[in-house]
């Protein structure tokens, strides 16, 4: 099925490189990995010739080990009631080069989802009509869904019902609570 589709696309879009990525054995949703330059042409072919008129789900996945960010499109056909055809595009993780073509001109439904992927992953979609942050505020500079994101340190220690007991344990018996053990060891080494 997916092999057939791959052949069809390869004939229709000259120069495209397609790779099949398998899903989990049970899910049976193999994906097509398309190179960035031919992603738009491939998507256009899928929309016009395969009647995949419904772009359901768009999201990013961060792969620091590969050094790449993947954008995943799930395409369905409302006319033929088939699907999904999974389309994947990869881009380098570096913020300047992290660019993929936007599919919003083909499917309006991608508009907000691509903005979300830009906000959370830092993927820039070329050709997107209105690429702004959607969930975080405009002044925010990070892309929090990347695996190397460091959240701000606003997580303060708060009292527990066992507070008095713990303090007394430290003062009287010298029992160190597990949370403080690391700090104490560090201090001892110094």
């Amino acid at each position: 099925m997916i092999e057939q589709l791959r052949e069809t696309i390869a004939q229709a879009v000259p120069g495209v490189t397609l790779e099949i990525i398998q899903s989990t054995p049970a899910a049976q949703q193999p994906a097509l990995l398309v190179d960035r330059d031919h992603a738009f042409a491939t998507a256009k072919f899928l929309k016009e010739n395969q009647q995949l008129d419904f772009c359901s789900c768009v999201t990013g996945v961060d792969y620091p080990k590969l050094g790449q960010i993947e954008v995943v499109y799930h395409l369905y056909s409302v006319a033929k009631k088939t699907g999904p055809v999974v389309l994947k595009v990869r881009a380098p993780r570096e913020l300047e080069q992290c660019r993929v073509p936007s599919l919003t001109p083909l499917w309006r439904g991608c508009e907000f989802q691509e903005r979300e992927a830009y906000d959370l992953f830092g993927v820039k979609f070329d050709g997107h009509p209105d690429l702004r942050r959607i969930l975080m505020w405009d002044e925010f500079t990070d892309h929090p869904m990347r695996k190397d994101y460091v959240p701000p340190k606003d997580y303060e220690w708060e009292p527990t019902p066992h507070d008095d007991t713990l303090t007394r344990a430290v003062e009287v018996a010298g029992i160190i609570p597990p949370s403080a053990r690391e700090e104490l060891e560090k201090a001892k080494k110094k």
Partner: protein, 212 residues
């Protein structure tokens, strides 16, 4: 103040109530709390449910949900306060006339709740505005909100006129500073005048232990 209790009850039988002005004033205030119609997340649905058919908040005089902060005197922070929403919450609180009260409804408003680890979630609304009543629960049942309103009513009934109240002091600030959006976090991340981080026992006692 000294009352003749016998005389008082004697008068009450004939429909004459003798009581200090303060009590009368508080009685009026506590039975006509107007909450701000301001839902943030899941708890807002339970807030609506407590005002709706079965639970009927009107029995406690608190059913007049006002859509504008200028007419409200109770803010029910019903749901998760995110960092993006917080400046608006503080601004709404500033716009409410004194005397004003806050109920932190649900685990999220108290401390961040299940979403505490999130980068966009504020770890408790009491970091920026003073909270009078906290209700635990995720979400609290409507009965819990009614209980919170009754707790607040008790608090109002116990307040004295002209003493120790924020809104009677001329120097007191009723405007709470609104944090700005920073590059990574809110700036500042907490209002230190309202909220102090609790004493960290690891800071103090470990040093003492090391001395020994």
């Amino acid at each position: 103040m000294a009352y003749d209790e016998g005389l008082k009850s004697e008068l009450q039988k004939s429909g004459i109530f003798v009581l200090p002005f303060e009590q009368l004033y508080n009685w009026g205030r506590k039975n006509s709390i107007w909450p701000l119609q301001f839902g943030l997340a899941c708890c807002a649905i339970e807030m609506i449910a407590s005002a709706a058919s079965r639970y009927d908040l009107a029995r406690f005089g608190a059913e007049v949900f006002r859509a504008t902060p200028r007419q409200a005197d109770l803010m029910i922070v019903a749901g998760t306060v995110t960092k993006k929403m917080l400046p608006q919450v503080v601004r709404l609180f500033n716009q409410m006339p004194e005397p004003k009260y806050v109920i932190a409804m649900g685990a999220c408003a108290i401390s961040g709740g299940p979403f505490k680890d999130g980068y966009n979630v504020l770890k408790g609304v009491d970091r920026f505005i003073p909270v009078d009543v906290h209700i635990p629960g995720c979400p609290p049942r409507p009965e819990a909100l009614i209980h919170a309103i009754m707790t607040l009513q008790r608090k109002i009934a116990g307040q004295t006129l002209g003493q120790d109240q924020r809104w009677y002091e001329k120097s007191a600030t009723t405007e709470f500073p609104i944090p700005a959006f920073g590059a990574h976090d809110l700036e500042p991340p907490a209002n230190r005048e309202v909220w102090q981080p609790p004493r960290n026992y690891t800071d103090v006692t470990i040093a003492e232990v090391l001395k020994k």
